[in-house]
């Protein structure tokens, strides 16, 4: 079964539908599936619900899908870097379901692992708990959160072998493994494709079983906030 595709558009061929639920990896602009986002913009698919920790920035990452108004709803923990997001949200054009960051990550992992619901203390007694079942364990309240079962996952890894076994680099791993796991189909973009055997089987972060289609491409890897120290501080 050939998993390697020639381009993002080819890899997404037949997978996109209006109103679908897409889980996307990345944190801020770090480790985001840039190429697949561009291809989704090109496709014109609309009314998307996207589960992603953030929604990019104005004009980059998932922000591009805001500019084209292809997103109906976001499931995110933090959307503060994006003026267009705020505009669409405050004007009622865009729905937003806030998820605490850890709850969002766990909901994705749970969906990928066949767990439809789990209890967490996160958000108990807050707006986040509204409408959610509360259950006591050991005399303390926990709320029920549901697994996310996405129609499609779009993620970015550093290197993958042709069977989909892959590794991430530093903090670019972030939401990519849980996002990859929770999709019926997972499409992954990488910086390098290698042959099976080139990755040490003990070093693989996400086994190929979770990855259905792979593309390689050039990434801009834009930095959101360049912060440095001067050499004198050393």
């Amino acid at each position: 079964m050939k998993k390697v595709y020639g381009s993002a558009a080819e890899a997404l061929d037949g997978l996109l539908e209006d109103k679908m639920l897409i889980a996307a990896g990345g944190f801020g602009l770090c480790g985001i599936p840039e190429l697949l986002i561009d291809a989704i913009v090109e496709s014109g698919v609309k009314d998307l619900t996207i589960a992603s920790n953030n929604c990019g920035v104005d004009g980059f990452g998932l922000g591009k899908l805001l500019d084209t108004k292809q997103i109906k709803k976001m499931m995110s923990s933090y959307v503060g870097e994006n003026a267009e997001f705020m505009r669409q949200y405050l004007s009622g054009e865009l729905e937003l379901e806030f998820n605490p960051q850890g709850t969002l990550a766990e909901r994705m992992r749970a969906g990928g692992c066949g767990i439809p619901g789990f209890y967490t203390k996160t958000g108990v007694g807050t707006q986040i708990a509204e409408g959610k079942e509360v259950k006591q364990f050991g005399g303390e309240d926990y709320i029920l959160e549901e697994g996310i079962f996405a129609d499609l996952s779009i993620v970015k890894a550093w290197k993958a072998d042709t069977t989909g076994n892959c590794v991430f680099r530093k903090t670019a791993r972030n939401f990519n493994p849980p996002a990859a796991m929770c999709g019926k189909i997972c499409v992954m973009e990488v910086e390098e494709i290698v042959e099976p055997g080139e990755l040490d089987p003990d070093h693989i972060h996400l086994p190929g079983i979770f990855v259905h289609r792979i593309i390689k491409g050039e990434h801009e890897k834009r930095i959101e906030k360049v912060t440095t120290r001067s050499r004198e501080e050393a």
Binding site: F27, G28, L29, C30, G31, N53, S76, S77, Y78, V79, G80, E81, M86, Y89, L90, L96, F98, P100, Q101, G102, T103, L104, A105, E106, M108, T120, K121, T122, G123, V124, G125, T126, Q127, I128, W158, F168, R169, K170, T171, A172, R173, N174, F175, N176, P177, P178, H205, K221, R222, I223, E224, K225, V226, T227, T228, R229, S230, R231, E233, A234
Partner: protein, 208 residues
């Protein structure tokens, strides 16, 4: 004279003990790292890193290496990377000894509000709700009053909550208060700040 940002950060650093795994929030809490001295503190960044190092030298920024504030950072010899599910596993699972966080409001029962002003600021809670629910000790560092001179240390929070009864200690420009039975207890006054000044700036019940 009330403490400035750096003095607040230095005071917050005294909360940390050798061997602790700690999560520092954005703003003043980030400065705490500058004041840990010889203590062996390991900083967790909730986007997937233990053992966070300082900012990189100019030209050495790595787009794959950022902290939870999206700032470029560096790694240390003891660094380990992991995914977001694992990261919040250790947070929710109580493996982080302390979190030092900013706040918009804190109430005398330990309620914390630091993520939303309805109709105005709707950025999201990020990892704050998980942190306050999961870590062993939550220390808030913030100015005692807002721009309008109104107390941020309240009988009850007015803004949407981040967590209920989660704050253990509050460090402000005026001093240090602990959340105890019945209200807040003054632990320490900033240099030159009188107890009366602190009480005047505090809406919350102060107990002895």
């Amino acid at each position: 004279m009330p403490w400035d940002r750096n003095q607040m950060a230095a005071r917050a650093a005294e909360e940390l003990e050798d061997g602790m795994y700690v999560n520092l929030g954005i703003g003043i809490p980030t400065l705490v790292a500058n004041y840990v001295g010889d203590k062996e503190i390991t900083l967790q960044s909730e986007n997937g890193m233990l053992g966070m190092g300082p900012f990189p030298y100019e030209g050495e920024e790595d787009p794959d290496l950022i902290n939870a504030g999206k700032q470029t950072i560096t790694e240390l010899p003891k660094t380990a990377y992991f995914d977001s599910a694992m990261s919040f596993g250790m947070i929710r699972g109580g493996k982080i000894a302390a979190a030092i966080l900013g706040a918009m409001e804190v109430a005398e029962n330990g309620d914390l509000a630091n993520w939303m002003i309805p109709g105005k600021l709707v950025k999201g809670m990020g990892g704050a709700m998980d942190l306050v629910a999961g870590v062993g000790r939550v220390v808030v560092v913030m100015d005692h009053t807002n721009k309008h001179g109104e107390s941020k240390v309240l009988k009850a929070c007015t803004l949407p909550l981040t967590g209920t009864g989660v704050v253990d200690r509050i460090i402000t420009n005026l001093g240090v208060l602990d959340v105890v039975e019945g209200g807040l207890k003054i632990v320490e006054l900033a240099d030159g700040v009188t107890e009366d000044e602190l009480r005047a700036a505090t809406e919350a019940t102060i107990v002895n």
